[in-house]
């Protein structure tokens, strides 16, 4: 019997090659997309869960109460860790890290030549770090690895990079020397596996925290600033969290100055929540993905799966109906309904199992693609057995719906009617169901398409909206030595391709997550009345270089060792309701000192478009002029090579790095680009799946109505009339779907756009063009089948009976 089923199933699949292919293709795309999204979501919501102590580990976060706002910081003052450790015996473990930062390392090769490497993920960590977090050791002892101040721990990859000759014997690397910034010799005390991708601690080198403290005595003893010290505590159990927070609240005055004590409060954030919580921003060196995004992604995944399954059921039922004759014969010949159900379930299950196999292949290919293409967030997605299990589960679910439903519908046919092909007359109720399924999926298709259009336009807005400064063809490179800046500038300007050179702490818009912060007040105000501002250091060419427009006052005349002049932006003036003219000559106190406002510049976007323009103060300071901005005439390799040459001649002891400002700005929209790519891919997928469904349904209907088309043609219907006879119905459904989709997408996209301070408005034409795209594609899809049916010779159609 089974053999008979397999035979019938196989011959049927071959007979309906196109439909089978559509069916398998559609469902496997649906399943694999859903799987990839779910794997991604799972990965993104499992950050740092793998540590043994993850449940009881908390990050100390800081709320900074200013008169006009509260700032939420994920880093704390450096002395906090040891203070907590000394004063709270109930805390199991306190650990603190600084960084990750970028540092330069060098080793001597066999010929005693110095080889330099730049490493961007250097983490300073205390010995407790190794006991708090799970780290896989290849060589070295976690109890002592960071005890000596001049030690260094490398990841496997770096060990291979620095000491390629070790031949897998990592023990032989232990004790070798690596120089930090060409001066401090550090001894290798451990080789570890890199942390898995789903960890917020990103490092490939660990250096003792003590080393950092000794080299930064001012930072490490200062309680009032916001320095990049990340503090973690391990508690015995969850209940201790709230009491501890309360205790810390009353304890902190022991160390903080009274005005800081009022302003700063500490809280404990569970380690496992760090990655999905936006309040505190990205951890240093890492990124965050809000749980909202993950939730939406999961919903999207389920939608795609549902569409695919619905289509599958739809097509399968449609195909099965054309086998009503077989059902009739089998029933007459003595088949029980149970036998028939079994046969069809069996048959459909074969297709589904085939589809599952294909999905597994697609998923692993897609994951590979994601890992390589989404390098910005350093994905390390893996295809695990549990995922195959999940696919199987989806498969069972699909079998349950897609195999059993048609089987039951089909097996219920009365043999006489089945034999006489009367089924379609009775199938009107069925058809209504199918109609609503089509509407449902086209609602989703249009949701995606319109969303993709809106996101694309918002992205376009980022790109084309004026930022208030010029960013074109600007090369940025760090400048390690202040004393050599003028020489560097002069040599560069000798080249015709370079028109302007300026130095400062950073470009007008904060890039790479780097911005100097300070607070400001009028000298007569108290510290508590201070407001938050961005501090920027620029040389006398800065305004001209970036085309920043002065509304009042003048530019700096020179940079000084002790700054004495400020240029501020319009937004800052709003805090005091000054006009630009009024502001000139006013004195302002910032954390770093006091100076006079000599100029007011027109507002420019000092933050990316997601955020508002914030008060900004430009200082004529010699410190922090650690970046050079070079405007090149043409972005060719010659000028870049030239800059590199000049740079290396000037700053002999460092490694040259550069970045285009435009690229750096682009990177500020990584998440948005991700969303855009996501929507583009998903709308294409949704269209594909939706059209496959439409195509399949059309082919079913045309094959069922061959006779009707024949009669109509004999009666004199033109091809066009026959086409419209088929297409009209579907177009009505697509239009209905559009009407349903519009309010939903309008609401959702407005919600998304609200996340941006600077944004586009959703207009009617965006909605309409989304509808139009879907409409055109579906007309084309429908036409394929109906043209074929309309062109066929009616005689053949009518002779069949």
């Amino acid at each position: 019997m089974i053999k008979n089923y397999i035979k019938i199933a196989w011959r049927n699949l071959l007979k309906n090659k196109v439909n089978t292919a559509i069916n398998i293709f559609g469902l496997s795309i649906g399943i694999s997309t859903c799987m990839v999204i779910l794997i991604f979501v799972r990965y993104e919501s499992s950050f740092d869960h793998y540590h043994e102590k993850a449940e009881n580990t908390y990050r100390v976060v800081q709320h900074n109460q200013l008169p006009d706002q509260t700032l939420y910081w994920n880093t704390t003052a450096y002395p906090l860790a040891s203070a907590l450790r000394n004063d709270f015996p109930e805390i199991d473990m306190v650990t603190q890290t600084a960084g990750p930062v970028s540092r330069e390392f060098s080793i001597e090769d066999e010929e005693r030549d110095l080889i330099r490497f730049e490493e961007s993920h250097v983490l300073f960590a205390d010995p407790f770090f190794l006991k708090t977090f799970d780290i896989e050791w290849i060589a070295g002892d976690f109890n002592t690895a960071l005890s000596d101040i001049n030690s260094i721990i490398l990841t496997e990859e770096l060990a291979n990079k620095y000491f390629p000759e070790h031949n897998e014997n990592y023990q032989s690397i232990m004790g070798k020397t690596i120089a930090l910034q060409s001066k401090d010799p550090l001894k290798v005390t451990g080789v570890i596996k890199s942390a898995p991708g789903n960890s917020n601690q990103r490092y490939n080198i660990l250096i003792p925290y003590e080393f950092f403290k000794i080299n930064n005595p001012y930072f490490s003893g200062n309680w009032s600033g916001n320095y990049q010290g990340t503090t973690y505590v391990v508690l015995q159990n969850e209940e201790l969290r709230k009491p501890l927070e309360a205790k810390i609240a009353s304890w902190k005055k022991k160390y903080l100055k009274p005005e800081d004590d009022k302003r700063i409060s500490y809280f404990l954030q569970p380690l496992t929540e760090i990655h999905n919580e936006t309040l505190y921003g990205s951890s240093p060196g890492g990124y965050i993905l809000p749980s909202k995004v993950l939730f939406t992604a999961s919903i999207v995944a389920l939608f795609i799966l549902v569409i695919a399954i619905v289509n599958f059921i739809n097509l399968l039922t449609a195909q099965s109906i054309s086998r009503s004759k077989e059902v009739g014969i089998r029933k007459v010949l003595g088949s029980k309904r149970r036998d028939l159900i079994r046969q069809f379930i069996f048959e459909n299950s074969i297709i589904i199992i085939g589809t599952l196999c294909i999905s597994v292949a697609i998923v692993s290919a897609l994951l590979h693609q994601l890992n390589t293409n989404l390098s910005i967030i350093d994905l390390k997605l893996q295809f695990a057995w549990s995922h195959i299990g999940l696919i199987l589960l989806i498969g069972c679910f699909t079998i349950l719906l897609a195999a059993i439903y048609p089987a039951i519908v089909l097996s219920a046919y009365r043999p006489i009617q089945a034999l006489k092909n009367r089924i379609q007359l009775r199938g009107t109720g069925n058809f209504n169901l199918r109609r609503s399924l089509i509407v449902f999926q086209f609602v989703i298709v249009q949701l995606f398409v319109i969303a993709a259009i809106v996101v694309a336009l918002q992205m376009n807005y980022f790109k084309n909206e004026s930022m208030g400064f010029s960013s074109n063809a600007v090369v940025m490179t760090p400048t390690p030595e202040f004393s050599k800046l003028e020489v560097f500038r002069n040599v560069l300007l000798e080249n015709n391709n370079i028109s302007k050179v300026s130095f400062g702490s950073g470009p007008p818009m904060a890039v790479h997550g780097f911005q100097l912060g300070t607070s400001f007040r009028r000298p007569e105000q108290t510290v508590e009345e201070s407001l938050d501002a961005e501090m920027k250091i620029g040389d006398v060419n800065y305004l001209d270089f970036y085309d920043l427009e002065l509304l009042a006052g003048r530019n700096f005349t020179s940079n000084k060792e002790t700054f004495d002049e400020f240029i501020v932006n319009e937004t800052l003036l709003k805090s005091y309701n000054w006009t630009p003219e009024e502001a000139i000559g006013k004195k302002i106190q910032i954390n770093e000192g006091q100076a006079t406002i000599v100029g007011v510049v027109k507002d420019y976007h000092n933050n990316s478009f997601q955020y508002e323009i914030t008060p900004c103060i430009i200082l004529n300071w010699e410190y922090y002029q650690n970046q050079a901005f070079i405007k090149i005439g043409n972005q060719n390799y010659e000028s870049l090579a030239m800059i590199k040459e000049v740079w290396e001649d000037t700053f002999t002891s460092s490694i040259y790095r550069y970045d285009f400002l435009d690229d750096a700005i682009e990177k500020e929209y990584v998440l948005e680009r991700l969303v855009f790519n996501g929507f583009t891919i998903f709308s294409i997928l949704a269209i594909c799946i939706g059209c496959l469904g439409l195509f399949g349904l059309m082919s079913f209907i045309t094959s069922r109505k061959t006779k009707e088309i024949g009669i109509r043609k004999v009666m004199g219907a033109s091809i066009l009339q026959i086409l419209s006879f088929f297409t009209k119905e579907f177009m009505r459904l697509v239009a209905l779907a559009f009407i349903i989709a519009v309010p939903v997408v309008y609401y959702l996209m407005n919600l998304w756009l609200e996340g941006f301070t600077y944004r586009i408005d959703i207009s009617i034409w965006m909605l309409l063009s989304g509808g139009l795209i879907t409409f055109i594609i579906s007309v084309i899809t429908c036409s394929f089948q109906s043209i074929k049916a309309a062109l066929a010779n009616p005689i053949h159609a009518l002779r069949e009976e």
Binding site: N4, I8, K15, V332, G334, P415, I416
Partner: protein
């Protein structure tokens, strides 16, 4: 007596009125009969045949098949009954397109849970008997109409039914093929198989031993 129909009526409602498809049908069939049901289009011939074959319901009356009262039986028992005793032959052959001749013949046996070796020998017998051994691996589309109907008859016979119901078995065939099929029916009848055929043709009617004439759902 093989079967007995008493006062069988079947109707549908159309525009608030009862339209009779069968009206007060009374007749019986003995084992070994060869009965032809005649009548113009729409007179209810096929409906009557379907009722006899238990593929269709009726609204009124009593139907006894081998001493079982069909009208009181549940669907499942009814199916078992016809599965065991009745073979069907259709005008449009109704072979399964995706199965070969051999597989088509084998199908009824699958539903009767015959063992594989039994099925093989029964199929082999039938192929021999109808001289279609050479065609056993062909698909229905590769056969002529006459050959397809031959397979259809063979399939109806394979489970050795007591009764064969044939709905215009020669309707799609040319006269020579038709004659062949009718010869086979005569032969089967001689071997003791009861046959009820629906036919339009006077010629085919002549093969039968008894004729039932239908007009507008009633026997005339």
């Amino acid at each position: 007596m093989l079967l007995n129909l008493k006062n069988i009526s079947k109707w549908v409602h159309s525009g608030g009125q009862k339209v009779f498809l069968l009206k007060d049908i009374n007749f019986w069939v003995n084992e070994g009969d060869f009965i032809s049901i005649m009548g113009p289009s729409g007179s209810g011939k096929s409906t009557l045949l379907n009722v006899i074959g238990m593929l269709d319901d009726f609204n009124e009356g009593e139907y006894t098949f081998l001493d079982e009262s069909v009208h009181t039986l549940k669907e499942k028992h009814r199916a078992n009954l016809y599965k065991q005793y009745v073979g069907f032959v259709f005008q449009a052959y109704h072979l399964i397109d995706e199965l070969t001749v051999k597989e088509n013949l084998e199908m009824p046996l699958l539903y009767k849970k015959h063992s594989a070796s039994e099925r093989k020998s029964l199929v082999g017998d039938m192929l021999d008997r109808f001289n279609i051994v050479g065609k056993k691996d062909l698909f229905p589309a590769q056969l002529s109409g006459g050959q397809q109907q031959l397979v259809g008859v063979a399939r109806a016979l394979i489970a050795s039914p007591k009764l064969i119901l044939a709905d215009e078995p020669t309707g799609n065939l040319n006269s020579k093929q038709g004659e062949e099929i009718m010869e086979i029916f005569t032969q089967l009848n001689k071997e003791g198989v009861t046959i009820i055929q629906v036919t339009h043709s006077e010629k085919n009617m002549a093969y039968g031993s008894r004729v039932i004439n239908l007009l507008d759902g009633s026997i005339v």
